[in-house]
């Protein structure tokens, strides 16, 4: 075991996969010589050579499309899109091609491409460096969509994603790269070395897809969340003194419906929280599942916490961000009829 922040854990996952599997190649803007704008691929080109860790032109559509072609020809590309906000030029290739290749060719062709991309706000990035577009991709049939919230899961899930024969969109909440974040920018930053999930095996291991992580067991309500909101939700519940069960979904597709349903059936109360915008967000899907599966056990209407339905504004970053106050209001609302 070693202390790792999320960047080091992701780097370790790619290092291990480049070492184990000669078909793995990395590609992306500034990822090679420079090691990536967040340093996630630092040292990998030096170690594995320019022919395994490729710098690319600034063309997200080109990156995704060539990754598909390389994958079809036997490679296992891990493509970085520098910010999730920049993924849209690759959208057609992802939605119309990557997601459907296996289906339309009756399984004869497939493209085991992993697309890694930093998402979420909290770094003063304005509308072009802060988005959480996971819901746009979970709406597409044929994509697996992951979003880890800590170094241990990040490494294990990335290895699983690279080894998986289906395309995976792998979102990295950038505000969590260096430590668990409770949603208060005024508080001193806490490094991952202080957190159990910052303890990461140095070797190969996997975290299975489709398995949620119960990060806190509780009896009074269930908070279903993922990514940046995991630690915000934990802190909000703690500040109210409620015995919340907090579940980090981490694998959005495939989704661990069993863990969700058994928890809500037990607690009878549910809050769904994500940083992405609310309208047609992934939370709406979770809410529907809970309503369909747990209706007779619910003691109160399910509450949803999300970013506002506006672009991410530079000056109002913390008024936009669904911080502890917004989560606490939702928790109180579901607890009201208790």
């Amino acid at each position: 075991m070693a202390n790792m922040n999320m960047i080091q854990a992701l780097n370790s996952a790619m290092d291990i996969m480049l070492g184990r599997d000669p078909s793995v190649v990395l590609m992306g803007e500034d990822i090679g010589y420079f090691g990536g704008v967040f340093r996630t691929t630092e040292g990998l080109q030096r170690k594995y050579g320019e022919h395994r860790v490729l710098d690319t032109p600034i063309a997200e559509g080109g990156i995704v499309a060539t990754a598909i072609g390389m994958a079809v020809n036997g490679l296992r590309p891990v493509a970085e899109i520098q910010f999730a906000d920049y993924i849209y030029p690759g959208f057609d290739q992802i939605v119309s091609e990557l997601a459907r290749l296996r289906y339309r060719s009756a399984g004869e062709f497939f493209a085991p491409v992993t697309i890694r991309t930093p998402c979420g706000g909290g770094i003063r990035g304005g509308q072009t460096h802060s988005q959480s577009p996971e819901g746009i991709f979970t709406h597409v049939s044929g994509l697996k969509v992951l979003m880890p919230s800590n170094p241990y899961d990040a490494k294990g899930l990335l290895i699983t994603a690279i080894e998986d024969d289906d395309p995976v969109i792998f979102f990295e909440p950038k505000r969590l790269y260096n430590g668990p974040f409770v949603g208060d920018p005024a508080k001193p930053a806490v490094p991952w070395s202080t957190h159990a999930k910052g303890q990461v095996p140095e070797g190969h291991y996997t975290v299975p897809l489709g398995l949620a992580d119960v990060v806190r067991s509780g009896s009074q309500l269930t908070i279903l969340t993922y990514g940046t909101m995991v630690f915000v939700a934990l802190a909000a519940a703690a500040s109210l003194g409620v015995d919340a069960e907090v579940i980090d979904l981490r694998s959005l597709i495939p989704l661990d419906v069993d863990t969700i349903v058994s928890s809500v059936k037990r607690t009878g109360r549910c809050v769904v929280a994500h940083e992405a915008t609310r309208f047609s967000g992934f939370g709406a899907e979770i809410l529907s599942i809970v309503q369909e599966e747990c209706f007779w056990q619910l003691e109160a209407p399910i509450q949803r916490v999300a970013g506002w339905d506006t672009p991410y504004p530079h000056a109002f970053e913390w008024e936009y961000f669904p911080g502890q106050a917004r989560v606490a209001t939702a928790i109180e609302a579901v607890m009201e009829s208790a």
Binding site: H51, R52, D184
Partner: protein, 418 residues
């Protein structure tokens, strides 16, 4: 798979610790390139796309057929705009380092690209800038205070706090809103120009992107639509050699110039010394005349050097040779115009010092005024209610509700601080 393969991987001529080498940059002597008629057919212009239009020679004289014969007063205005751009950049860089603004991007060494082009165009021409074209805003006469208030996201910010620093706009100044996404504005400029032609107007559109961004599909959309409709548009590729850490070879610049993509699409392409104020002015004027007379679009490659970091979040010492800009063969645009004016007897070191002091004072006074409208940490703040406006023309119910929710959240935070 082998560590080596027959895949070609472009390499910059010098990495950290190596000697800067710009021998790959093909130069033409000043005055050597012919100036074709503005109505010349694209098929007769192909050498323009690979040669380099230059006017200022090493003796600081203006020579050759592209010499635009500007009055000394106009040259002095150009020098003033470029110097103001640089002093503004310097001050804003320091301001960011002091934590007063969140982010900044300098245009050091690229001032002529924006200033000379802007001066060669008419006020009614529409400009679609990228994020390193602050010289356009300055040459169009935007007040520094307005630019600074945007950088501060303060109560007088033209973007109402919604955009990252440097993403300016000016409807009145015909300066389109800067996106922050790359190359997106290039085909939009073509569309604007198509509308101008459809409406029977005389205006042209101009847009700027980096050579790195020319890799995006939007660059190709722009060229294709401009060619198909012969749109009155000037498409500028600012080849400053670097896209963050990625060398221009990764944008496809190793085998052929960026300007040469123009003729491939049936568009006039011109490669120009981007640090030569007179040459940039002359080719822009040529392209604008071409568009106004109905002879179609022009792709201009401005060969220059990004002398500073990509942004305040970047450290070029990690990926390129130290002090490499000192070896850049096309020199510094401000110094070259200054030396030319001195050669003409229309400028002096003393006047230059005086101008520098005057503009420094202007920058300082503008900053004092700008911060009176608020900074990130002090003074008046924008009302967070503004966040919900302008998503649509009229606010839909779900946003009205979210605005009320935020008000309650803030009220609660005020009453029971955590």
């Amino acid at each position: 798979m082998n560590k080596r393969s027959r895949l070609h991987l472009p390499r910059p001529p010098a990495r950290p610790g190596e000697k800067p080498d710009f021998s790959y940059v093909q130069l033409s002597p000043a005055g050597a390139v012919a100036r074709p008629d503005v109505n010349a057919r694209v098929r007769d212009l192909s050498s323009l796309a690979t040669d380099m239009v230059r006017v200022l020679n090493d003796a600081h004289e203006a020579v050759g057929p592209w010499h635009p014969h500007l009055d000394p007063e106009e040259l002095q205005v150009g020098l003033r705009h470029m110097l103001l751009t640089r002093l503004f950049d310097d001050r804003m860089q320091r301001t960011q380092r002091a934590g007063k603004i969140s982010f900044y991007m300098r245009s050091l060494g690229e001032e002529a690209v924006s200033v000379a082009a802007c001066m060669a165009l008419k006020p009614g021409d529409m400009l679609f800038p990228s994020y390193r074209n602050q010289g356009l805003h300055i040459a169009r006469g935007m007040a520094l205070v307005d630019l600074m208030c945007q950088l501060l996201s303060n109560t007088r910010d033209m973007c109402k706090g919604r955009q990252l620093p440097v993403m300016y706009h000016s409807k009145a100044g015909n300066l389109f809103s800067i996106s922050g996404n790359l190359a997106t504005q290039f085909p939009q400029a073509v569309g604007w120009a198509m509308a101008a032609a459809l409406k029977g107007e005389d205006h042209v559109a101009a847009s700027w992107i980096g050579e790195g961004s020319s890799a995006e599909a939007d660059f190709h959309h722009a060229l294709l639509f401009a060619a198909v409709y012969q749109a009155p548009v000037i498409l500028n590729v600012v080849n400053n050699q670097w896209a963050i850490s990625t060398f221009q070879g990764y944008a496809g610049g190793e085998q052929r110039s960026f300007a040469a993509r123009g003729p491939g699409y049936g568009i006039a392409g011109i490669r120009v010394d981007g640090n030569d104020f007179l040459a940039v002015y002359a080719v822009t004027q040529w392209a604008a005349q071409r568009s106004r007379t109905g002879a179609g679009p022009t792709l201009i490659e401005l060969v220059t050097y990004r002398a500073a970091a990509h942004s305040t979040s970047d450290d070029p010492a990690r990926y390129r040779a130290k002090d490499d800009q000192m070896h850049w063969p096309l020199g510094d645009p401000i110094d070259r115009l200054k030396q030319h004016l001195i050669k003409l007897g229309e400028w002096s070191e003393e006047r230059h010092r005086g101008l520098t002091a005057e503009l420094d004072a202007l920058v300082g006074a503008s900053w004092q005024e700008a911060v009176s409208f608020g900074t990130m940490s002090e003074g008046p703040k924008l009302d967070p209610d503004l966040m919900f406006e302008d998503v649509f023309k009229e606010m839909p119910r779900h946003l009205v509700r979210q605005r009320a929710q935020l008000r309650a959240e803030r009220e609660r935070a005020r009453k029971e601080p955590r």
